[in-house]
Subunit: 416 residues, 2 copies
């Protein structure tokens, strides 16, 4: 449109996990991809991240799993304990049968490490990465997406991917909603593992479940770092205070917990508090030639550890929806984008809505007290290792698992 506009096949807005994954997926299909990021440098804040098989399968597809495994850790077990008694409630062994069933490993990795793996993947594949670009609005004009930036320079592309996170600038194009506060606040921290670090469970992902609080702990960087996340319900949030969840509340929240949990609080970086938000699911992520993905489309609470995982699934689904349609052996067919976006949206919205909703209930079940806690503990204890009935829908490859565009197409062709 504008004479000075940068033109490309695909414009990705946002350089977090979702944006990088989306850019890489479409670049793999042969698109010229430009990714713009508001921050002056690419990078990730935060601590560790759990990459379940449904996400590590996507890295595998792109040939990036080896790099992730070099820097990440494959924990031996996922263990749930009662935070008040310390009692083990249930465990899942993460290698062997689990890994075989889901076709990829369970990996824990520093957020910045995974981000770098994806960033280097984009660079190597030839994604054009641009910093310091703040997109203020996107519109669709003449069948192309146009992004207007703060600097006054426009970007235009056949499609614009809105991967700009929880507080997405582009989401208002499809939904009139706001982030939903869960009243919970997280503190995170990574500390070196030394000889003085308590030896218990250092090879596992441990989740301590307490009334209105929980604590997660696992190793990072080949076992050199210990990652700790403490999440608790803020009484001052409930009182309506704006600056809720201070360090005083952190300590009070864990006062009834076993010493192992109270000790672990010392590993937290208390300078940053992370209020926990999500949004209600929405059905439509598409406005003209703009489509949302990742947290911009389906921000979720962290209880299933699926935020980044679902962004990777999005990218894989976008890749599948456009290969052979937009990106064909005979070149790019931009007119196929409308159908491809709709297919991507259709195949992903139901699944991510289920993950969003399940994360809320799953989190609630972690924080119960009284009779509900008794029932929760009995339920967890009744579960045996390698009982996959609660995992298959999330980590599985077929059936009730990840809906794949390919499977949908096969089914439609069979029905036709």
């Amino acid at each position: 449109m504008s004479e000075h506009a940068t033109s490309t096949d695909v414009l990705v807005i946002g350089g977090g996990m979702a944006g990088l994954a989306g850019a890489l997926a479409l670049r793999e299909n042969g698109a010229n991809v430009t990714l713009v990021e508001r921050a002056p440098e690419f990078g990730e804040v935060g601590a560790g991240l759990q990459m379940a098989p449904n996400a590590s399968r996507v890295l595998k597809r792109w040939g990036l799993l080896e790099k992730a495994l070099e820097i990440g850790v494959q924990p031996k077990h996922l263990v749930f304990r009662d935070a008040v008694t310390g009692e083990e409630l249930t465990r899942q062994t993460l290698n062997g049968e689990f890994e075989e069933r889901y076709g990829a490993p369970y990996v824990v990795i520093h957020r910045s490490d995974l981000h770098r793996v994806l960033l280097e993947g984009c660079e190597a594949a030839g994604v054009k990465l641009v910093n310091d670009v703040t997109v203020e609005s996107v519109e669709t004009v003449g069948g192309r997406g146009v992004a207007h930036t703060l600097a006054g320079v426009d970007f235009e592309a056949d499609v614009v991917i809105g991967a700009d996170g929880l507080r997405s600038t582009l989401r208002p194009l499809v939904a009139d909603d706001e982030p939903v506060s869960s009243a919970y606040v997280a503190y995170r921290g990574t500390v070196p593992i030394t000889e003085k670090t308590p030896k218990a469970d250092l090879e596992d992902v441990i989740v301590y479940l307490g009334p209105d609080c929980h604590l997660v702990q696992y190793p990072l960087r080949k076992g050199e770092l210990l990652n700790t996340v403490a999440v608790f319900k803020s009484p001052s949030f409930e009182r309506g205070e704006e600056q809720y969840g201070g360090v005083d509340e952190l300590e009070a929240a864990y006062k009834d917990c076993v010493p192992a949990v109270q000790e672990a609080l010392k590993n937290l970086a208390t300078g940053i508090r992370w209020p926990m938000y999500d949004r209600d699911p929405i059905e439509n992520w598409v406005a003209g030639r703009m489509v949302l993905m990742g947290d911009a489309a389906h921000p979720m609470l962290q209880y299933l550890a699926q935020g980044a995982c679902q962004a990777l699934e999005d990218a894989a689904a976008l890749q599948d929806a456009t290969v052979g349609t937009v990106f064909t052996g005979e070149g790019i067919k931009p007119e196929a984008w409308d159908v491809a976006l709709r297919e991507f949206n259709d195949v992903r919205a139901g699944r991510t809505a289920r993950v969003q909703r399940t994360a809320r209930v799953w989190g609630e079940s972690w924080h119960v007290s009284g009779l509900a806690r008794t029932l929760r503990n009995l339920l967890f204890k009744s579960r045996k290792d390698n009982n996959f009935q609660y995992n298959d829908w999330l980590y599985g490859q077929d059936g009730d698992g990840v809906p794949s565009v390919t499977a949908k197409r096969v089914a439609e062709k069979a029905a036709a």
Copy 2:
């Protein structure tokens, strides 16, 4: 004491299940037993009663099980369903492995039928049964129990058994407490099973679990009668009203339940409402030569269906504690009663306290809603038929099961 006193070895006060069972147990040991009952006739109100193996084993000991089986029903399964969805949550098959494990059948029987079996047992054994006697107080004088009656006639005996139920006149001798209202009200009913009776589950004990309500249904009298019990939380009780739990509340309580449950409400006799009470457990049931048993000692909520069962266990334990001590081959040794009562109290109080407390929590778990209901349903559904982990402590014969005086004596002798 009084010149006109009736003197006997054992005086039982109360002609309900507990009193009859206690009288029979001691008569079996050779005591002269007089049982006095306030009502002008012996009998039982109410509808059906579930007799678990821990109770039917006691009938078997006295040679009364056959009579109970002639008139009762052996249900095929105990089935739990969600009252809102109708979904089956778990089931226990009651014959086969269950009956073998616990050494006696699960029987459902009309309360009046079991009462008659015990009454005829007492008559045949030679228990002296006296109606129309209201005991006003009991004291211990010169090593004998003396009961003062409304009519002015005293009864005296080596021991007085207080089996006078929830609102026991004798309990104040050992405890300064009151019945505890659970805010729940029951309606009961028995109707003939006809061709029009819905056929579903007619051979089973069915428990429908709903929010703040439940409904139990099973056959009686060789399958001729259908027994229904509806129990719900009374909103007017919560508001502090004295006459709570009316029929209007009954219907409202089940409004979200499946049609099978709503239909079953028609089988209830709405003329009598039964507010549900228990008491907190107490440790001591003995005052001089008076001892409590049955509901007078440990009234419990009905959720484990153990009220009558625990009274039968009491009687068996009393029999065990006195055989060879009070009642010996060389005659009766009244001086041994003090030790025998203490042993009976010791062996029973811990167990019945556990049943009382567990009945409360178990009932709570039936009436939950929201997330706790989800957890409860998942927990119940995770349980397999013939998984006895939650049954052994209650129905079992050894170990964590029914504490028997004999086992205790053997252990003490072995330790000595």
